[in-house]
């Protein structure tokens, strides 16, 4: 520990910590815009956090300056306050003043810090504005670099957390901007659409493309039969959009809200999550027994799929051929459900609510039309659903609890935990064990695969299969590590779960903002609570609706219908 003085307060701080950390621990909030400790991002770029350090020549950036014994720091002298205001004025002088119509309005860190430092005027001449073309080439994310404040968080999250390294600053001085390398448009790039850049962006420079209007139009179209599915993580996130604490499970209120919005049927992606376990579990067993490609890797996370297609095309055979639960849902809604209900599948409009931005891309993939129609018609993120509900004047917090419609609304706890990293693995192992061993696991909680460690491993003796070794990775940077091991022949696993986003779907690109690991942990906890405490059925193969589906429609796992509707293929893409 070192002892220093901050604003005449004697403060102890661990060696190697920054002035900013020491100050915040001492209850002194130093504003900052660029730093983001969770992703180890402290470029010292925005200069909002400058403080005075005795004997230093100029002001120093608190977010990167290490504490030292006897150091004397002043965080709010006139010099400091004026400097922060000046920096803020510079930023605002080059920012479009369209806050009222910006997607990040009210959730913008630039607004918040401007308020914190008390900047009230722009007097510098600003004859020149950054005016860059808006990149809305993709159907997922919109990049508007005129709103960029060069915090470089997106660059770091893309390179260091996600291992994609797509974004880079380009150009010099005032004309510099952060762009996909080689000046590509997003749509022509190796972007995985994971949306983590949008999650960390402090302003409205990177936002999801809003599809709420498509959904409003569908709901208002009397000729359409609009059904909705919600990803497992939504029930643990949506409350935050309405000011509720993170980790509040709002399943029943969410159902009511969706029904009030006008959806004809409120179903659940958890249903097809259970189905995925059946198909994927049998695929794993098949590969193990027939000497198929191992390790097999999960395929639920569309950002991850695009990642491997771009960067590790040689490893594509390792991917499970199962579609993601979202897409299985869409395919069944337009076949199984339409048949069962006697509805013209052409009139069925499938909306999914996802914690994910890449799902928008996945739904639009050309191979996702095995029902004869586009499987999923519109994808909304949690944030977009929040926006729709607010527009409709629906206050989630006070709604009564609703229940799902049949037949695609029933699910097990195994389906719910899909939303957290390790959840798919845990769910799959429960079922595989039961199928192979003919009995349930002694304990259904496989805690080794839970939590936020980047790469987790587990090994399980499963009857005649012997020891089954599993690995779980979340965040594409960790995925890269695992893939490099596979490519090097050093990955002695049978089954690997990979999720694009840190924390899995609870940390998805479409999650409520601002995000943090703390929130992700609370959300995951809520999902495990649903699995352990709320749901009476905790294993996918025990879901009676799934049994009914096989009995009445699919007949058998990995059968012909499954093959046609629930499995897919992958495309090698260039970098």
């Amino acid at each position: 520990m070192v002892t220093l003085t901050i604003d005449n307060l004697t403060v102890d701080a661990p060696e190697g910590s920054t002035i900013l950390e020491a100050a915040r621990n001492a209850g002194i909030h130093i504003p900052s815009l660029c730093t983001l400790p969770e992703i180890h991002h402290s470029p010292g770029a925005c200069r909002v956090c400058v403080v005075e350090v005795e004997r230093a020549r100029s002001l120093v950036a608190a977010c990167v300056y290490p504490v030292a014994n006897g150091m004397k720091v002043k965080t709010s002298t006139r010099r400091v306050r004026k400097a922060r205001q000046q920096v803020m004025e510079f930023l605002l002088s080059d920012h479009p003043r369209d806050c009222n119509i910006c997607q990040k309005h009210g959730n913008c860190e630039l607004q918040q810090v401007a308020e914190l430092v008390g900047q009230r005027d722009i007097t510098v001449p600003c004859t020149d504005f950054t005016r860059h073309n808006i990149d809305d080439s993709s159907d997922v994310l919109i990049r508007d670099m005129s709103k960029c404040i060069h915090c470089l968080r997106c660059v770091t999250v893309c390179a260091d957390v996600q291992g994609v390294s797509l974004l880079t600053p380009e150009g010099r001085g005032f004309d510099s901007r952060v762009v996909p390398a080689m000046g590509h448009f997003l749509a022509d790039s190796a972007c995985t659409y994971c949306g983590q850049c949008a999650v960390v962006c402090p302003t409205g420079a990177i936002v999801e493309k809003d599809h709420t209007d498509r959904v409003w139009s569908a709901l208002e179209d009397p000729s359409l039969h609009v059904v909705v599915q919600e990803a497992p993580a939504i029930r643990a996130q949506l409350g935050e959009e309405f000011g509720m604490a993170p980790g509040n499970l709002v399943t029943g209120k969410m159902i009511t809200a969706l029904r009030r919005l006008g959806f004809d049927r409120v179903f659940d992606t958890n249903f097809t999550a259970d189905l995925t376990i059946i198909e994927e579990g049998h695929e794993l067993l098949h590969r193990v027994k027939t000497g198929g490609k191992l390790p097999m890797i999960t395929s639920c996370s569309p950002g991850w799929i695009k990642f491997i297609e771009h960067f590790y095309p040689d490893l594509l055979p390792h991917l499970s051929t199962c579609k993601s639960p979202q897409q299985m849902f869409g395919a069944l809604a337009k076949t199984y459900y339409a048949q069962t209900e006697g509805i013209d599948p052409a009139t069925v409009f499938v909306v999914s609510i996802m914690p994910c931005t890449a799902k928008k891309f996945e739904a639009a993939r050309p191979e996702m039309r095995s029902s004869g129609y586009r499987d999923v018609d519109a994808v909304l993120t949690t944030r977009e659903l929040g926006r729709m509900l607010r527009q409709a004047g629906i206050d989630l917090a006070v709604l009564p609890e609703g229940t799902y419609d049949a037949p695609m609304g029933q699910y097990s706890g195994a389906g719910t935990i899909f939303g957290a990293t390790g959840g798919v693995m845990e769910a799959a192992l429960r079922t595989v064990y039961a199928v192979v061993a003919g009995r349930d696991l002694p304990s259904l909680d496989i805690t080794a695969v839970r939590g936020l460690d980047g790469i987790k491993e587990a090994a399980l003796e499963i009857g005649e299969l012997g020891e089954v070794r599993a690995a779980v990775a979340h965040g594409l940077g960790n995925a890269r590590t695992v893939l490099d091991r596979i490519a090097a022949g050093q990955a002695d696993y049978h089954f690997i779960e990979i999720m694009s986003c840190p924390g899995g779907c609870v940390g998805g690109g479409g999650q409520p903002l601002p995000a943090s690991d703390e929130k992700r942990t609370l959300r995951a906890k809520a999902l495990y609570h649903d699995d352990g405490r709320v749901q009476t059925i905790r294993q996918s193969h025990e879901n009676p609706a799934i049994k009914a589906l096989y009995d009445g429609f699919l007949k058998e796992p990995l059968g012909k219908k499954s093959h046609d509707l629930l499995h897919t293929r992958y495309t090698a893409r260039g970098v």
Binding site: V50, R172, G173, F174
Partner: protein, 1033 residues
């Protein structure tokens, strides 16, 4: 000779062999192959030379060696002949036969290719006698021009790698570092951090892997020190790095060199290869078990990559962006390993420090800045090149002694040190020693050694704008203050330069500059405001002129003036217009244009100091236009526009005291504005200095009379023989007139301040000229001495010649080039037999019987610089000498007579000047003043300008009191043609005819004859019409 070197012994053997080989040749021709000389044609010369030498069979006695940069880049290609030290410059292939025949065979130097002293016009054959070299002290660059940089043995022959051997065999790391500390060497990259200390930090860092890095990313505009060192002596850098590697325990080094330096990279690559071959780099160096490998990393030319953390990121293969420190690179640098970074010059200084001892180095320089410094001197300076001097050498010595001063008689304005991160040193600080602290105190930085010299034609606001634009273009864009803040500063500067500056801009610039300096991430951003700080500190007037007067005094900012000649004219005469009208043959219109801004065009066509001509853009091609002579041509060849009386429309009455050009102009201007104006003149006729000071051979009296009459014809009332204070009390004027303009001039000569000045035969130049011009008897003796170098001194001297003096000598305490008189006047005086004695100053007037009989003079030498940027003359002790003199005319300045004036008008009796405000008003609410009484002796055109500006101010004050807006001149209705020759052919200025000296000395007939019509037309055609702005489609 490719054997592996195993220690000092083998190095000595090689040295011996090389020197022995050199001795086999009678002459060694060291031909400069630096980038500058190569560009001027080294290779074609070298080929011709080699062929001729072979052809004449001289191959065995003459050795031709291509060296690296010799430093004297301005005159390349250059060649040094050893051992005799002959220095040839400006070499062309066609010079080869003569050099071979005359010099190489017959041993006679080729005079025309030798250096010529611009002052004395003497040839200087030996390199070490040429001032550019003789004032230098080389340490870092001791090998430049003496070795072939592509031959390692030549470096070894000059004790190369001996220091490395010493470090490897005989010294501990601590001893090496201690030697560097003893030397006092500080980082030559700019910041001046003590080098030994830096090495100590790197040595102390615990890590198995450490790096030694060389920053060769020289990027300052105008800087080429590092490039030249790499080109001329690459091994010195490698050896310096090797010594450091031994000291800190590094096995890998990188040289980060910008890709724009292909020759430097080529020579470095060769040097590394040869050093590796000889066991001086690579594995097991000199068989000691030490490994050290150097790789070259080519930078893509980003300025910010000169910043150490950005440089390291760039080597790592990432975008070159600085990161905050700490951690410092000595702890965590390249690939997060301890890294020791120095720049080229620092590395290059190290071997001699180790070999010769740090104390030897520490003896050079100043207390805090030891050793030598290399400067790249560029810009408006005669000897562009690379110089090395002891730290502490005054900047003025570098610019004037080594650099040879400013071309074209222009005045030195400032030197920019430290490039875009630095600041400017103005003329008043030329004595500033070049040490880190002194330069920082003056608001600049030592920087890496770029020195850009600027003359009076440089606009300092534009310069600040340029550097701000540079920083903005080179900012990596990472931190807010540098990315956006510098752009905001740039916008303010651009506005100011475009005439869109506003009150408050200066304060805004200061605020932004302070914030950016305080908040930017790296050195680039923190120092980006420096040029603004330093120009605000020294050239605030120029900022104010741009913002408030919408004028660019230097004539650089194109939005603020039409043409540079017009901008340089105190009354902004529309010069391009009247010259175009001459060309079109419309002389009457041209005369109208003249009269719009100048009531004395005919006078000015003869005696104006024509600052317009110094600005003429044509001079960049051949010679400036003869604007003065063309003006005279108009007034010679057509009749002046008709003058009609102007009616009086105001009740206020105006008095003007003094009928010189300032007073008459003010009177006319007030008359134009409708006032009743009375001019009071103490003498019998109007004209002031034009009549009483300027001799008739320069200004015929009928010309003067005509232009005065044109003013009086408008209705201005002239009352002569009325002296204020004697014939009329100032208080009476005050009570009878609503506004009074004082333009009484400065008509008393300044005394020399020596005994005997009242003796017979001594008279001030003004008094002398006035007496003669008034027709009073003037006795001129046989031996006339005139003291001073201004126009009055020349007038007095030439008048004395005409009055029959046997000998007339002008005595001036500085050099002839410093004389303030017009060059043409000095030349004419010399033609008429006037002798000029420079660097002499009177110390005693010797009298006999109350009459001057001789003058004791002291020789002067030029000492340190004064506030005007000129060297101050200092008496040489014991150099006194006496010349016989019977007439002594001091002409060292003039003062005003202010005794009769009201003391309410801001008299400065000490300087005998009236102090006025910017608008020529005085502290008396109804009195204005202008002309020589305010400025001291100045040009006619300055007096005219003063009269115009004072009149505008008087009128504005009177009208404002009545609630009216000020008068505005109706715009001229003369359409100006635009006609230029499609191709501009070089053509010197047309000469004006003159009376022959022998003839003109006999009387006061006008000397200059004026142009004839054809000559004038041709001269007018030389105008390139730079005033016309062509719209970009």
């Amino acid at each position: 000779m490719n054997e592996r070197i195993t220690g000092l012994e083998t190095l000595r053997e090689i040295k011996h062999k090389v020197l022995e080989n050199h001795r086999k040749y009678r002459l060694r021709l060291m031909l400069c192959g630096g980038t500058g000389c190569r560009a001027s044609g080294t290779h074609s010369f070298k080929a011709a030379l080699a062929e001729e030498i072979a052809h004449r069979g001289l191959g065995d006695e003459i050795l031709v060696t291509e060296t690296g940069c010799n430093g004297f880049c301005a005159v390349g290609p250059v060649m040094l002949i050893l051992p005799e030290d002959t220095f040839y410059l400006g070499l062309r292939p066609e010079d080869v036969p003569e050099i071979v025949e005359q010099h190489l065979i017959k041993g006679r130097r080729v005079e025309r290719l030798l250096y010529e002293d611009p002052q004395t016009k003497q040839k200087i054959p030996c390199m070490h006698d040429i001032p550019f070299f003789s004032h230098q002290l080389t340490w870092t660059m001791k090998n430049k021009g003496y070795i072939d940089p592509e031959q390692i043995d030549e470096y070894i022959a000059r004790d190369g790698y001996a220091a490395a051997a010493q470090a490897l065999f005989d010294m501990t790391p601590d001893e090496i570092i201690s030697e560097v500390k003893t030397s006092g060497l500080r980082g030559r990259g700019g910041a001046g951090f003590p080098t030994g200390l830096k090495w100590d930090f790197a040595k102390g860092a615990r890590n198995d892997t450490k790096y030694v890095l060389c920053n060769a990313d020289e990027g300052d505009p105008g800087a080429f020190m590092d490039r030249s060192i790499l080109e001329s002596d690459p091994h010195s850098v490698l050896e310096g790095m090797l010594i450091a590697a031994v000291a800190i325990g590094a096995r890998q080094g990188f040289i980060y060199c910008r890709a724009e330096y292909p020759l430097a990279i080529e020579r470095l690559t060769i040097a590394i290869q040869q050093a590796e071959q000889r066991g001086l780099l690579g594995k097991n160096i000199m068989d000691t078990g030490t490994d050290f490998t150097i790789e070259i990393y080519k930078g893509a030319g980003a300025f910010v990559c000169g910043e150490e953390t950005a440089l390291m990121r760039s080597i790592e293969g990432r975008r070159g962006m600085p990161r905050p420190r700490p951690p410092f690179p000595a702890v965590s640098g390249l690939w997060e390993k301890p890294s020791l970074l120095n720049n080229v010059e620092t590395w290059s200084s190290v071997p001699r420090i180790i070999w010769g001892g740090g104390d030897l180095y520490a003896k050079i320089g100043t207390e805090t800045s030891k050793g030598t410094k290399v400067f790249a001197v560029t810009g408006k300076i005669n000897n562009i090149g690379l110089v090395e001097v002891p730290m502490g050498t005054p900047i003025g010595d570098i610019i004037f002694d080594i650099g040879g001063g400013i071309p074209g008689k222009k005045r030195f304005k400032a030197a920019q040190l430290g490039g875009p991160s630095g600041g400017c040193i103005p003329a008043e600080h030329l004595n500033l020693p070049t040490d880190y602290e002194a330069i920082a105190q003056a608001g600049a930085i030592m920087g890496s050694g770029g020195m850009i010299v600027m003359d009076e034609d440089t606009c300092m606001v534009d310069m600040a704008r340029y550097f701000m634009e540079f920083c903005q273009d080179e900012s990596c864009g990472k931190c807010t203050p540098c990315r956006i803040g510098t752009r905001r500063m740039l916008e303010i500067l651009e506005n100011i330069c475009q005439g869109k500056g506003e009150p408050g801009d200066i304060e805004r610039l200061e605020t932004l500059a302070n914030s950016i300096r305080d908040t930017a991430l790296c050195g680039l951003g923190q120092t980006a405001p420096n040029p603004v700080f330093s120009t605000l500190r020294y050239f605030m007037d120029e900022y104010k002129a741009h913002i408030f007067d919408k004028k660019c005094p230097a004539g650089v900012c194109p939005d603020l003036f039409k043409a540079p000649c017009q901008n340089g004219c105190p009354v902004e005469m529309d010069i391009p217009a009247y010259i175009a009208l001459i060309r079109a043959g419309r002389l009457d219109d041209a005369y109208q244009v003249l009269k719009q801004t100048n009531p004395f065009p005919s006078v000015c066509g003869r005696v104006c100091g024509h600052p317009c001509q110094d600005r003429c853009r044509r001079s960049q091609l051949d010679e400036s236009l003869a604007i003065k002579d063309l003006k005279r041509f108009i007034t010679d060849y057509t009749t002046p526009p008709r003058v009609a009386p102007i009616p009086v429309v105001h009740t206020e009455k105006i008095a003007v005291i003094g009928a010189g050009p300032a007073g008459l102009t003010a009177a006319l201007e007030m008359k134009k504005r409708g006032y009743e104006v009375t001019v009071f003149e103490a003498l019998s006729e109007a004209g002031g200095m034009l009549r009483w000071g300027i001799p008739a051979y320069r200004l015929p009296r009928e010309i003067l009379n005509r232009e005065i009459q044109e003013i009086l014809d408008t209705g201005v009332v002239l009352k002569t023989d009325i002296k204020i204070g004697e014939d009329l009390r100032f208080a009476d004027l005050e009570s009878q007139f609503d506004a009074v303009y004082v333009s009484t001039g400065a008509q008393k000569s300044m005394p020399l301040g020596l005994d005997g000045e009242t003796a017979e035969g001594v008279m001030g130049a003004v008094e002398f000229l006035r007496a003669w011009n008034m027709g009073e008897p003037v006795a001129v003796g046989n031996q006339v001495a005139v003291i001073g170098g201004g126009n009055s001194a020349v007038d007095a001297a030439r008048t004395a010649v005409r009055l029959g003096a046997d000998s007339v000598t002008m005595i001036y305490r500085r050099e002839q080039k410093d004389m303030p008189a017009l060059d043409a006047e000095i030349r004419a005086a010399q033609e008429e037999g006037v002798a000029i004695e420079c660097l002499a100053d009177p110390v005693e007037i010797v009298t006999e019987n109350g009459r001057v009989c001789a003058l004791k003079l002291s020789r002067m030498r030029l000492g340190s610089f004064d506030a005007s940027g000129r060297r101050r003359p200092v008496a040489v002790e014991g150099s006194e000498y006496v010349i016989p003199v019977d007439t002594l005319i001091p002409a060292i300045g003039q003062k005003a007579e202010l005794e009769s004036m009201s003391d309410k008008i801001g008299r400065d009796m000490k300087k005998t000047r009236i102090h006025v405000n910017k608008d020529f008003s005085t502290s008396h609410p109804r009195v204005w003043a202008g002309g020589d009484v305010v400025t001291g002796p100045a040009m006619v055109i300055d007096a005219i300008a003063a009269g115009q500006k004072a009149a505008a101010s008087m009128d504005k004050t009177l009208r404002t009191a009545r609630g009216e807006s000020p008068w505005e001149q109706a715009p001229g209705l003369i359409e100006i043609p635009f006609e230029v020759d499609e191709e501009i052919v070089e053509q010197p200025r047309a000469k004006i005819g003159e009376l022959a000296p022998a003839h003109r000395c006999k009387g006061f007939e006008e000397v200059e004859l004026g142009y004839d019509r054809d000559t004038a037309m041709n001269e007018a055609r030389r105008c390139i019409r730079c005033d016309v702005k062509i719209e970009q489609g």
